[in-house]
Symmetry: C2
Subunit: 196 residues, 2 copies
């Protein structure tokens, strides 16, 4: 490892380790996550990892807790459709970030521990005011532009579900046309907005 002159410590070191853990999880999935690979990627000794964490999953959860939180959609003046598309775009961007891909790999792991999944939701999503389109839809319902009775859990989740499935199917990020189609053809009709 050639022991360069400086030796990282504290936050610098932690950040490097967390970044390595997220990258490994995002690339390999939780099934192939190893202390060894994280240590190599972070250019530190395995010993250093074992001093703080007992296994790769333990480490990964800490890394996710420290990761940048998901950006909040900021509903604008009077553009429900545009704000919905923008909130889905936020979701797509997050989903393709290192942390996002690590989370999705975790959620889809057949060997996942329910307790871990729950902890994850608390740390990553519950900090924010709900999910992506949910924030926007609630905003316009509060303004009277939407019927609050239509905003059931199912309706609030349509956008997220469609984007997640699309990513699962194609493996790539949906473009704006597709996001607009989701909004126009699925979310708005379900929310009771009459279209042309």
């Amino acid at each position: 490892m050639s022991e360069s002159r400086t030796r990282r410590r504290g936050k610098d070191l932690l950040d490097a380790i967390y970044a390595a853990a997220l990258a490994e999880a995002a690339e390999s999935g939780p099934g192939r996550l190893t202390m060894d690979a994280i240590a190599k990627r972070a250019a530190t000794a395995r010993t250093t990892l074992y001093r703080r964490w007992s296994d790769p999953m333990d480490l990964l959860l800490d890394a996710l807790a420290e990761a940048h939180p998901v950006e909040q959609p900021a509903p604008g003046a009077d553009d429900l459709r545009g704000d919905l598309i923008a909130s889905l775009r936020l979701m797509v961007d997050w989903g393709f970030s290192t942390a996002g891909r690590a989370v999705m790999a975790l959620l889809a792991d057949p060997a996942r521990d329910p307790a871990i999944v729950e902890a994850l939701w608390e740390r990553v999503f519950d900090k924010r005011g709900g999910t992506f389109t949910q924030t926007v839809l609630r905003h316009y319902a509060a303004n009277g532009a939407l019927d609050p009775a239509r905003l059931t859990p199912v309706v609030l989740d349509i956008g997220e579900a469609m984007v997640a499935k699309r990513i699962l199917d194609t493996g790539g990020a949906p473009d704006d046309d597709y996001l607009a189609a989701i909004v126009d053809q699925a979310i708005l009709p379900a929310a009771g907005v009459r279209d042309a």
Copy 2:
């Protein structure tokens, strides 16, 4: 292994191996899939596996190709809503079968090979006449009960997306109430059916 009196051969043996591969993939995910575990579960020698397949993924793909095909929704007389719910129920049942969980684990694997995913779609889904709700919606559109113009790719995929996300979120099978909510609150409005 105690070498019981009889020795399996041909189809019997293959079936046992395929079942073991699917079970392993469904439980552990593709990342943790090993020749060793498959051989142990099928109660055969690793040697036997290496005679036919070069690695666990190769074996798994053959196993999926041989797996029972997904059941077809059979749209009935005149019950669009009921048929949609039934088709989603079919999807849920399939998703919790061994083969279904193996496929989902494959699709969600961050290290997945796009070529493998494509081969999978051809083998598992393209044999059938489209996806679950799609079959039903097309049937009623052909009968004039639905406007064919509303049946865009997005609309045809709403049910599948909602069910997939629900399974991902909760890890459990949605009950009929939830499936009905998906149909009433998401699919039917998007398909242009006026509700009460």
